[in-house]
């Protein structure tokens, strides 16, 4: 690795001050599992940083707090292991555990943060589809103050987010799960662990009071577009409908059309589109079944 300076602030304010004081060429480092590898490769994806600002010791990024009626605050600096081990997350947002629990190996999960996964902005990021399907919002703080935006607006392209220089992702805000709702995430990979999604699909559904119609459906796709995406036409085709196998099959076919994948070593575009349909269909059945059981 080529030289860079490194700062270890102890609070969010101190971190923001460090970027302000040191000026251009700075980059945050959280778990480092993407960044250090990219720096070792020479930093081709972005200009090689002049200095790093460590987020490891910022208590503001380690928040994990449930408030009745408001939902969950999930600090961007929580590691995948911390997310997976949280009883709160396991009980109320199992789809997030589905995603966080398969990021690399145990070693990776002990280092990788959920915020770093979003900020690195890989289309295949495993926590992105669950966050999208759960309609999480991202709280971002920077030199010009703070803003809160739906995660759907967070990604601009591969490796690109809305974050401006000196801005930090502080936490995700997740709405409380509705009664008779359920969410699932699954990725297709040849290996169970230590692999990158060929496609990833997250589905969140909510049934109405008598369980006969779908009040809400959210379908999010990873690794099939320049950013993680919502399959909105598929969602719209389900909402207000009875969750019949035919309706589910129609929605899955629409999700396939909404995917715009590329061909690469992990799979051809055609294979990816096929997988989107198959996985979406299976997950819709699974989520609806779970929502019925309550």
């Amino acid at each position: 690795m080529r030289p860079f300076a490194h700062f270890s602030p102890k609070s969010l304010d101190e971190a923001l001050d460090t970027f302000r004081r040191e000026g251009e060429g700075g980059r945050p480092i959280a778990g480092g599992t993407d960044l250090v590898v990219q720096l070792k490769e020479g930093g081709h994806k972005f200009p090689y940083p002049r200095y790093l600002v460590s987020l490891r010791r910022l208590p503001e990024l380690k928040v994990l707090e449930w408030r009745e009626g408001e939902g969950l605050r999930l600090g961007a600096g929580l590691t995948m292991s911390e997310v997976v081990e949280s009883a709160l997350v396991r009980e109320r947002y199992p789809a997030l555990v589905d995603g966080a629990g398969i990021v690399g190996s145990l070693q990776t999960m002990n280092m990788a943060t959920i915020g770093g996964n979003a900020c690195n902005a890989a289309p295949s990021a495993d926590t992105a589809p669950p966050l999208l399907a759960l309609e999480a919002r991202a709280r971002v703080v920077g030199p010009e103050g703070e803003r809160v935006l739906p995660v759907e607006q967070f990604w601009l392209g591969p490796g690109r987010t809305v974050l401006r220089p000196g801005e930090l992702l502080v936490e995700f805000l997740l709405p409380p799960p509705a009664p008779r709702s359920a969410a699932v995430y699954r990725r297709h990979t040849p290996r169970k662990q230590m692999d990158i999604a060929v496609v990833g699909v997250a589905v969140a559904v909510e049934l109405d009071g008598d369980g006969r119609t779908l009040k809400r459906a959210r379908i999010a796709l990873g690794a099939v577009a320049p950013t993680p995406i919502r399959a909105r036409r598929a969602e719209a085709a389900l909402e207000g409908q009875a969750p019949t196998p035919e309706a589910i099959a129609r929605a899955a076919a629409l999700a396939r059309e909404e995917a715009t994948p590329i061909s690469d070593v992990r799979g051809s575009a055609a294979f990816r589109r096929h997988l989107v349909e198959v996985v979406t269909e299976r997950l819709l059945h699974e989520a609806i079944e779970r929502a019925r059981r309550g």
């Binding site: 690399g104 145990l106 990776t108 230590m194």
Partner: protein
């Protein structure tokens, strides 16, 4: 710029080390502290040969900056044996002949040690998942899994 002074407690011993910000924890432990048991296979977090515990968490130390571990408790493969006696996991690797060239073994042993602390009675599948971040280029997985299961049994005392 001068090097940065960091504090590490490695295998119970306190060190103050002067490091460059771009040095990995693995490089620092091997080259500055002389603890060369941990190996570098890939340098990119993929093979697990550099596995160590940092504040009780198993990490791939090749992609952790030493400055990021400032103030942490580190356990390396050198820290497992006590009073010259191998740890039961190490002993089981010897007895089961789980070692071929040996390069992956420090990382395998650390991952197995960590797994058995969290799950003293793993199934074969759980052992496989627990070691999924560790590659053996000699591909001696079957005996490695046998050794871990044998160590688990011995450590449980049944």
């Amino acid at each position: 710029m001068p090097k940065r002074l960091i504090n590490l407690t490695v295998n119970g011993e306190a060190y103050e080390v002067a490091v460059e910000p771009w040095w990995s924890l693995l490089y620092t432990v091997r080259e500055e502290l002389g603890l060369t048991g941990s190996k570098e296979g890939c340098g990119t977090g993929d093979c697990g040969a550099c596995s160590m515990l940092v504040d009780g968490r198993l990490v791939t130390s090749c992609i952790m900056l030493a400055v990021e571990a400032d103030g942490c408790q580190v356990t390396t493969i050198e820290g497992l044996a006590t009073d010259g006696n191998l740890h039961p996991v190490q002993q089981a690797f010897v007895e089961k002949g789980a070692v071929q060239c040996g390069y992956c073994i420090p990382g395998m042993v650390m991952a197995a040690y960590d797994l058995l602390r969290r799950n003293p009675n793993p199934t074969l599948e759980e052992v496989r998942l627990g070691l999924a971040g560790n590659l053996c280029r000699c591909t001696g997985y079957a005996k490695i899994y046998e050794a871990v299961l044998a160590a688990a049994e011995r450590m449980r005392g049944d």
